[in-house]
Amino acid sequence: MTLTTELKEEFKDLYDKVKLCYQCGTCAGGCPVFKQYSSFNPRRVMEKLLAGDISAEIFDEQQIWYCTGCYTCSTRCPQGIDICHVINDMKNIAVKIKNAPPGIITEMTAILETGITAAKSTSALRKRDKLELPEIPPPDMTEIQKLMEVTGVIAKLNALKEDAK
């Protein structure tokens, strides 16, 4: 995989964030995902970053996108590495190289269209009626869409959708 200069810079930042890792495996030991799905191992992700392995494989949907973002690893790492955050940074890079699971595209599209992630299904609205709950004031969608445009979300989303075709 070839990386643009910008992405190479981001990689350098990631390396700086993990360079104190001494591969003890504490992160993997407490990782709820690793326990159930051993192909994803945060220690291994750190190892690849340390080795400067920037092959597309570490951005794979079968890898970093399995991280559930629980911060258990970051809480426990004896070297003070914020592994959870590093993996999130990697997901940001993965989006740029168009390596994201379909669920993320669905979620971002929902926010772009409605401002929220949950669908206002008829059954949900019926339950709200039954419980006599008030109507929630809807967000101003021109504002949400404008912010998604200026932060480049719409462009990235379109690129991912184009790629998925």
């Binding site: 709820p32 995902v33 326990k35 159930q36 799905y37 949907e61 996108w65 399995y66 991280c67 559930t68 973002g69 629980c70 911060y71 258990t72 970051s74 809480t75 914020d82 959870c84 955050h85 999130n88 940074d89 997901k91 940001n92 989006v95 994201a100 699971p101 669920g103 993320i104 669905t106 979620e107 971002m108 926010i111 401002g115 929220i116 992630t117 949950a118 669908a119 206002k120 299904s121 949900a124 339950k127 709200r128 419980l131 709950l133 008030p134 929630i136 004031p137 809807p138 967000p139 101003d140 504002e143 949400i144 404008k146 912010l147 998604m148 200026v150 932060t151 480049g152 979300v153 990235k156």
Partner: protein, 290 residues
Amino acid sequence: MSKYAFFVGCTIPYRVPFIETSLRKTLPIFDVELVDLPFACCPDPGGVQAFDSVAWHTLGARNLCLAEEEGLDILTACSGCFESLKIINTHLKNDPDLKSKVNEHLKDVDREFKGTIKINHFAEFLYTEIGIDKIAQKVTNPLSGIKIASHNGCHFLKPTDIMQVDNPELPQKLDHLLEALGAETVPYLNKLACCGAGTRTTDMDAALKIAHEKIVGAELANADALVTVCPTCYVSYDIGQRLMTKHFEKTTLPVFFYAELLGLAIGLDFSAGFKMHTIKVQEVLDKLTA
């Protein structure tokens, strides 16, 4: 009455609205007035942050601006919203470069992040601002005779340096909040385990397997119910138990949201909402009135 901007989020109103009822009915009893504002998604600390960190901060800052403009602190009952809003608020207050980048974007919608408000999670708020004693004083129907496995979940407590709610490796406040209602809390295997929701968008089966560990732990401890303070954790365990039958033997551990039990203990009638739970809770209710 103290006024708060009520950040209801996406999951509570449209997936588990009975949790919203429990909040709107209990909080005023403690002199809290909830104000609804046109907030959007917090945005999701998993999906949106993973997609683009700057966009996540910017969309979150817009929500913060709405509350700032009203001069109100935020009160939320979703740990995901709590995480997003509290991290974004803290980052923007402490990182001038990020703040100016985000404010540059916010100019396009005529808003500016100023950093004038505080973000509260309702459970932390009850513990810190209302206090265990005051809660215990309001209890008319103590929840005696049931054993509860408390589930703190991840984002109520972590990242610890920012959330600063409780010790993530030995959390106790939620147990104290439950004990204030007269309930017995039990230690159990996998008490600190994550509900797995963050993996749902990638692999539902893996997420269900993660959630199942918690049910096993609570059942081994003979808990009558599992209690959460996050709607997403609630969904993972309540609706989740039905989906888990694909991989595991059927379990029927009742799951409650803390405010539902608070309401029960102070004498409120939540029967309409209890009927909307996936796992039936009648057995627990019967035990309480026995």
